[in-house]
């Protein structure tokens, strides 16, 4: 469900108390609205890619990356996220994303940590976006929660017609498979290596053809639910600013970056058959490769962390 709609529903459920009278409902809602307004938190989340604890970007050498410890460079680093919530003692409070018409709609945000330089020149672009913003009625959150990827109801749009941020051709396959939830491509810097791509997206999608959207969700959702504990506090102005690291060393820790199984696409395309390349990165994200579901709420993921 849409976070805003879910919030409205929660408010309505909490406030209505079973009454069906129009006046009661109106009064209650008004009261709750003012309560919500009084405790709204303006959330800002900033992402930074790191390698070995240091900031990492296009042009930096990722020394001894992955299972086979090959020096590598970034080729791309972008991902979508949605279903953001702040965790409180009372439960998860949905965050309504601000629709800026560019990097985020109310439903999904695009984080773009590549700047089109060095190795990122081939597929990237100059514009970066490391931040998303939103609001939530949560006074004392203990953790940030979000889902990596594009929600299922938006995942099989026509990229030529979709509204931002879902209009990026480089983050789209076709109708049947939908969007690349994350595109994190690296290349061993040895001259004979073409590259090793991580294209995370839904798996096991079935429809009558590649250009036809599935009518039922794909068998493997492949959307890790990420939880990051909160260290910062809401300030006097009702603002909460969080920094989250994306640790590339943790993501690729067991990935065979220096090799690729013959006959399969280079790296992990989240396709059945890509087991040798995908299983390690899925595990790093807390996902089960076979089912595409979180293992124990994806709690084991170490990729997204506090700095």
């Amino acid at each position: 469900m849409h976070p805003a709609r879910l919030l409205a529903l929660l408010v309505a459920v909490a406030g209505c108390g079973g009454s069906t009278s129009d006046s009661d409902t109106t009064d209650t809602t008004d009261t709750l609205d003012s309560d919500v307004a009084a405790t709204d938190v303006a959330l800002t989340v900033r992402f930074a890619a790191t390698y070995g604890g240091e900031a990492a970007g296009c042009g930096d050498t990722l020394t001894a990356l992955g299972a086979d410890e090959v020096d590598s460079e970034l080729l791309d680093l972008r991902f979508y996220l949605h279903d953001v919530a702040l965790v409180t003692p009372e439960g998860d409070v949905p965050v309504t994303l601000d629709d800026d018409g560019t990097w985020q709609s109310e439903a999904v945000a695009l984080i773009d940590l590549e700047d089109g330089t060095a190795g990122c020149a081939a597929t990237g672009n100059a514009q970066r976006n490391d931040t998303f913003t939103g609001t939530a009625a949560a006074t004392a959150p203990t953790a940030l929660r979000f889902t990596l990827g594009v929600p299922d109801d938006l995942n099989h749009l026509d990229v030529a017609a979709a509204a931002p941020p879902l209009d990026v051709p480089g983050l789209y396959w076709v109708w049947q498979t939908g969007y690349k939830f994350a595109r994190i491509d690296v290349r061993p810097t040895a001259a004979d290596s073409a590259g090793w791509n991580l294209h995370l997206g839904a798996g096991g999608c079935t429809s009558s053809g590649s250009t036809v959207s599935p009518e039922t969700p794909c068998a493997r959702p492949n959307r890790p639910r990420i939880t990051v504990p909160i260290a910062a506090a809401v300030n006097a102005d009702g603002e909460l600013t969080l920094d989250v690291d994306l640790a590339l060393d943790a993501l690729f820790v067991d990935a065979p970056v220096g090799t690729n199984t013959m006959g399969t696409p280079p790296g992990c395309m989240a396709n059945p058959g890509d087991t040798a390349e995908c299983d390690p990165v899925f595990t790093a994200l807390g996902l089960d490769w076979e089912t595409g579901q979180c293992v124990e709420d994806c709690a084991a993921q170490q990729v997204f962390n506090l700095p």
Binding site: G124, N125, A126, A160, A161, P164, D167, V174, T211, P265
Partner: protein, 413 residues
């Protein structure tokens, strides 16, 4: 192509009448009748509007001939499209008088019969000098992020026009140094002054080469294609538009086996794309392993692609992926016209690049160190090749190629 004598045009009234043809409210029959009865000059009625609310009577108006699901292309702020500009540009595109010696029109290397692509391996300028490149097709050219086969600096069609008009290595149309001569020809023409004035009403003296470029760029932007069997199948839900073979080919094309769609995906069927809503331009140039003259992956020296602009070794052999619309009509293929048939192209990709046994270009392109990660090769049966060819052929848009805007306005009587 020789310069064409131009028929008389009865001024702005007739121009307006011609522009009504896309018929916001009137039926197609009415439009045709109107155009016929008021016909002057070429008698062509080629503007179609997807947007029925567009004011097609207004020479300063504009509409895109695109279905509502397609976001229109970006246009430069200083050259918004109008019917009057496109109409003028249509005429100029087919007019050899834009070249220094009057012999070569844009259409000379971009003939509409072959979907505006040069049927010769490489295009030839007015002095008989061969360019290193095959002039590409123009349908949906407005959607590219950059222009020409490999130049990241040419960001719109207006900038691109400098290459064929003024380029001197080699000379193509040879307009450089002949600007006054060419502008004089246009000014002396019975029709052009009124057409330029209608297209650029705020200009005191609009008959200039820069304005001619603005008009031709607008005409080229009007050459949109969204009516192929593939479009009808995918966007129109017309299941019978594609054969079973074409559907199999399409699924292979969009698969992680053949990997074609990484560079030729989306509505544009090219990853070099920019629309009115694009927030950023993704640079899209790829080395597809066509050559490898040495262990550094060298391409022939006159055709090194992006490398020739940037000087970066890693940009060797990187060229813009072309849109595949009408690709069945645009042989020969690649930037240098070095593959004669679609089948030859498909076999090169299936092999993961091209091996050239001997001659000055000998080498194994499959081993090119700068080759795209997606040109890894794939195994394909005879049926697979036939299916891929059937799919590529389904990208042919007869609606554009048979429309009046694809016709030579000087040869309509």
């Amino acid at each position: 192509m020789s310069p064409h004598p131009s028929a008389g045009l009865a001024g702005l009234t007739a121009l307006s009448a011609l522009l009504v043809a896309c018929a916001g409210g009137s039926t197609p029959d009415d439009a045709e009748t109107d155009a016929d009865s008021d016909a002057a000059s070429d008698g062509l009625t080629w503007v179609r509007c997807a947007d029925e609310a567009a004011d097609t009577d207004d020479p300063q108006g504009w509409c895109w001939d695109l279905p509502p699901n397609v976001t229109p292309p970006a246009v430069p702020d200083d050259n918004p499209p109008t019917f009057a500009k496109a109409r003028l540009g249509h005429r100029l595109f087919f007019d050899g008088r834009l070249s220094a010696d009057g012999s070569l029109a844009c259409a000379g290397c971009h003939p509409p019969e072959t979907a505006f692509a040069d049927p010769r391996p490489v295009s030839v300028g007015i002095l008989g000098e061969a360019t290193p490149r095959n002039a590409p097709g123009l349908q949906n050219a407005a959607f590219y992020a950059t222009y020409t086969w490999a130049n990241p600096l040419l960001l719109d069609l207006e900038a691109q026009h400098a290459v064929p008009l003024f380029g001197d290595t080699p000379v193509e149309m040879g307009a450089g140094g002949s600007e006054a001569l060419i502008e004089g020809r246009l000014t002396a023409d019975p029709d052009y002054p009124a057409l330029f004035a209608a297209a650029f009403p705020d200009d005191a003296s609009p008959v200039t080469l820069p304005r001619a470029i603005d008009a031709i760029a607008t005409y080229v932007r009007s050459l949109t294609s969204a009516g192929s069997p593939y479009d009808r199948y995918v966007y129109g839900g017309e299941v019978s538009a594609l054969s079973a073979s074409a559907v199999r080919g399409m699924d292979l094309f969009f698969s992680e086996i053949a990997e074609c769609h990484h560079c030729h995906g989306g509505f544009h069927l090219s990853r070099s794309v920019r629309t009115a809503r694009s927030r950023f331009i993704e640079v899209a140039f790829d080395n597809t392993g066509l050559y490898s003259l040495d262990d550094q992956g060298a391409y022939p020296a006159d055709n090194t692609g992006l490398h020739s602009v940037t000087g970066e070794a890693s940009d060797m052999g990187r060229f813009r992926p072309p849109s595949l619309r009408n690709v069945a009509l645009t042989a020969p293929y690649f930037h240098d016209g070095s593959a004669s048939t679609l089948r030859e192209v498909l076999e090169i990709y299936a092999a993961g690049g091209r091996t050239i046994a001997d001659g000055p270009s000998a080498g194994d392109g499959r081993d090119n160190p700068h080759k795209s990660i997606f040109v890894g090769g794939f195994s394909a049966t005879e049926q697979d090749f036939a299916d891929l060819e059937a799919f590529l052929t389904s990208l042919t848009d007869d609606a554009l190629l048979t429309s009046d805007k694809a016709k030579d306005p000087f040869n309509q009587h």
